[in-house]
Amino acid sequence: MKKVLCLFAILLVLSPLFAGGAQEAEKEDEFKVGFVFTGPIGDNGWTQQHNAGRLAIENELGVATLYKESVPNTQESAKVMRDMIAQGAKMIFATSFGYMDYMLEVAAENPDVAFFHCGGYKNSENAVNYLGKMYQARYLSGIVAGLKTETNKLGYIAAFEIPEVVRGINAFTLGALSVNPEATVEVTWTHNWNDPPNEKEASFALIDNGCDVIAQHQTAPANLQAAEARGVWGVGYHADMNDSAPEACLTSPYWNWDPFYVAVTQEVMDGTWDANNYWGGMEDDVIRLAELGKNAPAEAAAIVEEVAASLVDGSFEVFAGPLYDNQGNMILADGESMDDFAKLGMGFLVEGVIGNIEN
């Protein structure tokens, strides 16, 4: 006992020797990029894709990065950003909606640091928002689902009635209708981003209702597992989810942040960053559609490829008139298109969607 205590005492006395002071100062001078994550990096979804972008910055630019997982959407996030800046971060990527106001607060204190917030709407001189046009790939996945369905009933498990989710449902529906005018999309709101047992139950209920392709806007591939268990099909999201359910998975629209993260980091390092908001799409390779699964309809690949090409060259727009909501109101007249502002605040469900938005 005494010997053990003695050893501890010696180690404690020696400990300041190990805690290097000079080494730390050196670390703080280096250009660093900080990432504030809302979930764990192993979530197989949202945070995993942002983390892949972080690794791309490290690998392609050789720039050091910092990250912190599971940061709550409170004042806590401001503290994390300040810690990162104290560690030498010159750029901060805040990858959850709830960080916006706290980021602006820290941005005002640190005018020489560049701030990037994923999916918000408030800016300042050194703080901008960025997001991807996920709806483009959603439209393509809708084409695959619309061709596949035998019952003409598609299901959609969705977390919350916010514009990003609503846009995805609408695009998926329009994609399905473009190849299958009989198709409907039945929406179930789960009011939780990540609750796989509940998502599975909701998928089963939709399948019992006759739906034979289940798409989703959640974190986990629960919809695919439910579809696989019942011998029907599904569409993944966030990442290529084919491995979770190889029989059921038709395809997955997914995020590919690497090109944006690498390019904008280079700009900030070169001093050429213009502090503008960013909303990239398939034309920038920020949004992708995963390779079609083995049970995807044979004719789908060619159609998807053609539509994808017209989305990339700008000759085709997903949200174009005539467009009606599912209450029968006209949203866009023939020939009209929708500006980014209207898209970003989208609060209606298109004709063909069975479901509603509480407000």
């Binding site: 300041p16 805690a19 912190k68 959407n73 004042q75 709407y121 919350f160 916010i162």
Partner: protein
């Protein structure tokens, strides 16, 4: 075979020895974990301390975190005194935050000196009523308060989610799920760089200490905790005392919710409580419900949490490993209490095994 027997009169010196040993064990074991992750444990520990207390900014942040810990532990500690296991601090914080936010959003034209007290009272009532539900069900129908208070946390969380995503969603926010920020009038003023809620801590620590030790009500609460049947036999209105205490207990948690909304986050969100209600249970327990000890333990906890968060950023230690580190420290500290209350006796040789001979 070994037997476990209660240990009476554990001497102060021995208590200190056991606790120090437990803490050293925890740091040794987590040291190996850090070594395994490729870090120098001493560097990490030094940085952890630095993250909690390294600069005036960090001390301030640590104190801001101490406030909800201490207040909530004091609040639920009151119910623990009666052996009423109130696991519902989390939900009571949320409901308090919710009613305070309601006042803050709807009466924002009022001057601060009226609006803020109103919000605090609303927070107290919100949290208090939420705690009254399991208290009433317990005294009336003998339901299990542990399960009920725990489950009501989830009800409260779903309610706040509904408010954030639907009912109170900011219409200026382009459909994003966000409750509007509180206006300046509804934000707590600052004192020494901390929000004014910090003043509540010494007031409540002393108030609750005096209340429990010297008042008749405090005495009654203690008697109910020792033996409810005895209390009833002695003519105490036990049901009334349980209900009253739970209202105060939940009410204090509710005020914590108000403070977090008006002093820290400036808005209500589903992350408003963020586990404080659960951490406070461990704090109250470690402090053995002693009001002054709660203050000390809350501060140490805040240092540990702030430091644990800091090392994740500095050393890029994964969140899971940082939690494991904090878990190990807690495990050893809580586990050592066993050796303060009991001793292990080996029957055959009747040799007493104390912690020192392990």
């Amino acid at each position: 075979m070994a037997r476990i027997v209660p240990l009476e009169n554990c001497s102060m010196a021995k208590k200190v020895r056991i606790r120090v040993f437990a803490i050293l064990m925890a740091f040794t074991l987590s040291g190996f974990l850090l070594l395994f992750l490729g870090h120098n444990p001493f560097e990490v520990y030094a940085s952890m301390l630095d993250g909690g207390l390294g600069s005036s900014y960090r001390v301030k942040e640590t104190l801001i975190r101490t406030i909800p810990f201490a207040l909530t532990a004091l609040g639920i500690g009151l119910s623990f005194r009666m052996k009423f296991w109130n696991i519902g601090g989390e939900g009571q914080i949320m409901m308090g935050a919710c009613s305070a936010t309601f006042i803050g959003l709807n009466f924002q034209q009022l001057p601060s000196f009226i609006l803020l007290p109103l919000m605090a009272i609303a927070g107290m009532i919100g949290g208090g009523l939420w705690a009254l539900i399991p208290a009433f069900l317990k005294v009336r129908y003998r339901t299990n308060e542990t399960i009920l208070t725990l489950m009501l946390n989830y009800v409260a969380l779903k309610w706040i989610t509904y408010l954030q995503y639907v009912l109170w969603r900011d219409h200026e926010a382009f459909g994003y799920p966000k409750i509007p920020n509180l206006v300046k009038n509804a934000q707590l003023p600052k004192i020494f760089g901390l929000h004014i809620g910090v003043l509540l801590v010494p007031i409540l620590v002393i108030g609750i200490y005096l209340f429990i030790t010297y008042t008749k009500k405090g005495y009654e609460i203690r008697v109910i905790g020792e033996n409810e049947a005895t209390a009833r036999y002695a003519g105490m209105p036990t049901s009334k005392i349980i209900l009253g205490t739970l209202f105060v207990s939940g009410g204090i948690c509710g005020v914590v919710g108000m403070i977090q909304v008006a002093g820290v986050n400036m808005t209500l969100s589903i992350d408003v409580s963020n586990g404080v209600g659960y951490t406070a249970i461990i704090i109250a327990w470690l402090a053995q419900l002693n009001a002054i000890a709660i203050l000390v333990v809350s501060f140490l906890f805040a240092v540990m949490v702030e430091g644990g968060s800091y090392i994740q950023t500095v050393f890029q230690i994964p969140q899971a490993a940082a939690s494991l580190l904090q878990g190990l420290i807690l495990f050893f500290v809580l586990g050592s209490e066993f050796f303060i209350k009991y001793r292990v006796i080996r029957d055959r040789k009747t040799r007493i095994v104390t912690e020192g001979e392990v």
